[in-house]
C-alpha cells in the first residue's frame, strides 16, 4: 500500500517533469507570451470542468454529462439573449440551471442508488437533447464585444486569458476544498471506502449530491466561457468533450475507483495534454499522431503506477 502511494507520488512528479520537458522542447515559440495565451485558451473548458470532476471521481463516481451541460448552458444563453434578457441576468440563470442539471444527476445516483455511469450516459443524451430543443440548429452570435472580449483577450498587462484567470481562482478554491477541508476529507473517505465513511458519520449521499451539483454549475460556467470565447451559442457546443475531460482527470493520477488523486496532479495532467498538443501542432505533427499520443499517455498513466508498485514489491499476491 505504501509503495502504491509512493508510486502515485512518482507519477505526479513524472507529469510535472514531462511538462517541463515539453515546455523546454517546445522552445521559444512555445514559451512566447502569445503562445502561452493561446495555450491557456485552448485548455480552457477542459481545465475548468476537470476541477469538479476530479472531486466526483475521487468520491468514486463519474459524470459523463458535463459536455452536454456545457452545450445546454450555451443554448440557454443564446435563447435568453434572443429573448432580450440582459446578460447580467442570463449568466447567473445559466449557472443555476447547470447546478440543477447536476442535482438531477446527483439525485438519481444518491437517492435512487443508480450507477453514475449509466445515469450520466442517460443525462448526456437528455441535456444535449434539451439544448437542441432550445436552440435547434440556429446559432446565436451577436453577443456584445464588451463580453466576448473576456474570451479573446488577456487580462490587461499579462498574457493570461480571462478564462485562465478564472481557472486559477477556481483551481485554488477546489484545491483547498479537496485537500484542506472536512468536505474534501469526506470525499476521499467515501471514495476509498463508502461503508467506513458512513460508519464514521459522514453524510455520503449529501456529499455526493453536492459534488454533482457543483460539477453541473462549473460545467455551465464552462459553457458560458465557451460561448463568449467563440461568440457563438450553439446546441452542439462541446459535443464529445466528456471523454477528453475524463481522460485529463485520469491522466492526472486520479483512480477511477475513487479515493486517490490530487488536484495538483490533475492540473499537471491538463496542462501536459494541452502543452503537448500545442507543441505538436506547432511542429506540424499530424492530428492522427496527436490522437494516438493522447491515448498512449493515458495508458502509461494507468499502467505506470501499477508497474512501479509491482516492481517495488516484487511479489505476486492476490
Amino acid at each position: 500500500m505504501g509503495e502504491r502511494l509512493r508510486g502515485l507520488l512518482r507519477w505526479e512528479t513524472a507529469l510535472v517533469f514531462l511538462l517541463i520537458v515539453v515546455a523546454v522542447g517546445g522552445g521559444e515559440t512555445f514559451l512566447s507570451g502569445q503562445n502561452l495565451f493561446y495555450l491557456g485558451l485552448d485548455v480552457g473548458e477542459i481545465a475548468l470542468i476537470a476541477l469538479p470532476l476530479t472531486l466526483v471521481v475521487v468520491s468514486g463516481e463519474i459524470d459523463l454529462s458535463v459536455a452536454s451541460v456545457l452545450g445546454l448552458s450555451s443554448a440557454l444563453m443564446g435563447t435568453l439573449w434572443n429573448a432580450g434578457l440582459p446578460l447580467e441576468t442570463i449568466l447567473p440563470v445559466v449557472v443555476v440551471v447547470g447546478a440543477a442539471c447536476g442535482a438531477v444527476n446527483g439525485a438519481l445516483v444518491t437517492y435512487l442508488g443508480l450507477p453514475s455511469l449509466a445515469v450520466t450516459i442517460g443525462t448526456l443524451a437528455l441535456y444535449r437533447g434539451l439544448a437542441l430543443v432550445l436552440l435547434g440548429d440556429t446559432a446565436v452570435a451577436d453577443f456584445p464585444a464588451s463580453y466576448t472580449q473576456f474570451g479573446t483577450t488577456p487580462v490587461p498587462g499579462t498574457w493570461l486569458p480571462y478564462p485562465t484567470a478564472l481557472f486559477l481562482v477556481l483551481a485554488l478554491a477546489f484545491a483547498v476544498l479537496l485537500h484542506a477541508t472536512p468536505f474534501g476529507r469526506a470525499t476521499f473517505a467515501i471514495g476509498a471506502n463508502t461503508e467506513a465513511a458512513r460508519f464514521s458519520g459522514i453524510r455520503v449521499k449529501r456529499t455526493k449530491f453536492v459534488l454533482f451539483v457543483i460539477t453541473g454549475a462549473v460545467a455551465a460556467l464552462a459553457g458560458i466561457v465557451y460561448t463568449l470565447r467563440f461568440s457563438s451559442a450553439r446546441a452542439d457546443n462541446g459535443t464529445g468533450l466528456e471523454l477528453a475531460v475524463v481522460a485529463a482527470v485520469l491522466l492526472g493520477g486520479v483512480s477511477i475507483f475513487g479515493g486517490k488523486g490530487t488536484l495538483g496532479g490533475v492540473i499537471a495532467g491538463v496542462l501536459l495534454l494541452g502543452a503537448l498538443r500545442n507543441v505538436l501542432i506547432l511542429d506540424d505533427v499530424s492530428t492522427e499522431t496527436l490522437t494516438i499520443v493522447t491515448g498512449v499517455l493515458l495508458l502509461i498513466g494507468v499502467l505506470a503506477p501499477s508497474v512501479v508498485a509491482r516492481v517495488a514489491t516484487g511479489r505476486r499476491d492476490p
Partner: protein, 333 residues
C-alpha cells in the same frame, strides 16, 4: 421463492420486449406503414450493428469491466476491410468479414492483455485505446474515403441482401446473439464470466483463471466489434475514418437498458440485443410520429433514465422479497 426469482429474471427481457411491442403498436396506430415489411426490415437493420456490438459488450460487462473502444475498433476494421475489398475485388465476402473480425480481434487482444496482465481498470485502458485505435484509423485513412463504387458488388450485395426476406445483417446478429446466449448459459467458461463479475475474489478462490477469462472477454468484444466494422462496410458502402465515432456510449446504453448490471454478474445478451432494438426503434418511431427532430434526443435520454430507474426499483423489490422470504423460511426452526 425460486419461482419469483426466475420470473423476475425472465420478466427483465419480457418487459423490454413488451415495451418494444408497445412502441411499435402505438406508432403503427399513427402510421400503419410502420409495420410494413420494408420498415420492419429497416428497423431490424438499423439495430443490427449496435445489437451486435451490445453482444460483445455484454460479455465484457458481466465480468465487471467495460470496453469503451468498440466504436474505434469498428471504425478501424470498417476502413481496413473496405480498403482490402477495394484493392482485391475478387475477395470472397466471407474472407472480408473474417478480415474485419481479425482486425477487431487484434484490438481486443491488446485491450485484454493490458487489463488482465496490468491488473488496471478497464475503463481507463479502453478510453486510452479508444484514442489509439481511432488515431490509427486516421493514419490509415489519410483523409480518404472508400466509396461504394470502389467496393466489389458482391460485398455490397451482401450488406443489402436477404434470406427469406430477412436481411443478412439481421441474420448474422441473430446468430451472434443465439451463440453467445447459449455459450453464456451452457458452458463452464461462460458461467465463469458471471462468477467473476459477481465476486472477483471468490472467483480466484474457486480456481477460475480470472485473468484468462477477462482477456477472453475482451478478445471476443474486439472480434465482434471488428465483425461489426466489416458489416458496416457492406451495409453503408461509403467508409471514412470517422465511422462509428461515439458509438461506444450508445452501446453501453443499450446494454444497460437491456438489464445487464453495469457492476457485473448479471444480465443476458438477449436483453442487451433487445435493448439495442428498443433504443433504435424508439428513435425511428419518434421520427415517424413526426416528433420534431430536436425533441428526439431529449426524449431518448429521458426514456433511458426511466428504463434504468424502473429496473432498479424492480431489483430493490426483489431484494426486499428475498429478505422477507428468508425471515419467514427460517433456517433451523
Amino acid at each position: 421463492m425460486t419461482g419469483l426469482v426466475a420470473r423476475v429474471g425472465r420478466v427483465r427481457e419480457l418487459g423490454i420486449a413488451l415495451v418494444l411491442l408497445l412502441v411499435v403498436a402505438a406508432t403503427a396506430l399513427a402510421n400503419p406503414r410502420f409495420v410494413e415489411a420494408q420498415n420492419v426490415r429497416d428497423l431490424l437493420l438499423n439495430a443490427s450493428i449496435i445489437a451486435l456490438l451490445a453482444v460483445g459488450q455484454t460479455v465484457v460487462v458481466i465480468t465487471w469491466n467495460v470496453d469503451l473502444s468498440v466504436g474505434s475498433v469498428l471504425g478501424l476494421s470498417a476502413f481496413l476491410t473496405a480498403e482490402l475489398a477495394a484493392a482485391n475485388h475478387g475477395v470472397p465476402v466471407v474472407v472480408a468479414l473474417l478480415a474485419g473480425a481479425l482486425v477487431g480481434l487484434g484490438c481486443g487482444v491488446l485491450n485484454g492483455a493490458i487489463v488482465s496482465l496490468g491488473k488496471v481498470p478497464s475503463l481507463v485502458v479502453t478510453l486510452g485505446t479508444l484514442y489509439v485505435f481511432r488515431g490509427l484509423d486516421y493514419l490509415v485513412a489519410q483523409g480518404n474515403q472508400v466509396n461504394a463504387g470502389d467496393l466489389p458488388p458482391e460485398l455490397l450485395g451482401f450488406g443489402g441482401g436477404r434470406v427469406l426476406g430477412v436481411p443478412n445483417l439481421v441474420l448474422i446478429t441473430l446468430l451472434a446473439v443465439l451463440v453467445a446466449a447459449y455459450y453464456l448459459r451452457s458452458y463452464r467458461s461462460g458461467r465463469e464470466l458471471y462468477a467473476i463479475g459477481s465476486n472477483p475474489g471468490a472467483a480466484v478462490l474457486a480456481g477460475i483463471p480470472v485473468g484468462r477469462r477477462i482477456f477472453g472477454a475482451f478478445a471476443v468484444s474486439g472480434a465482434v466489434a471488428g465483425l461489426a466494422g466489416a458489416l458496416w462496410t457492406t451495409r453503408y458502402g461509403t467508409v471514412d475514418a470517422a465511422a462509428g465515432t461515439g458509438l461506444e456510449l450508445q452501446v453501453v446504453a443499450a446494454v444497460v437498458v437491456g438489464g445487464v448490471a453495469i457492476f457485473g454478474g448479471s444480465g443476458t445478451v438477449v436483453g442487451a440485443a433487445l435493448g439495442a432494438l428498443l433504443l433504435s426503434t424508439i428513435s425511428s418511431s419518434l421520427a415517424v410520429m413526426g416528433v420534431p427532430a430536436f425533441w428526439q434526443q431529449a426524449i431518448t435520454g429521458a426514456l433511458l433514465l426511466a428504463a434504468i430507474t424502473v429496473d432498479r426499483i424492480v431489483s430493490l423489490r426483489l431484494a426486499a422479497a428475498l429478505r422477507r422470504g428468508t425471515a419467514r423460511g427460517g433456517h433451523d426452526g
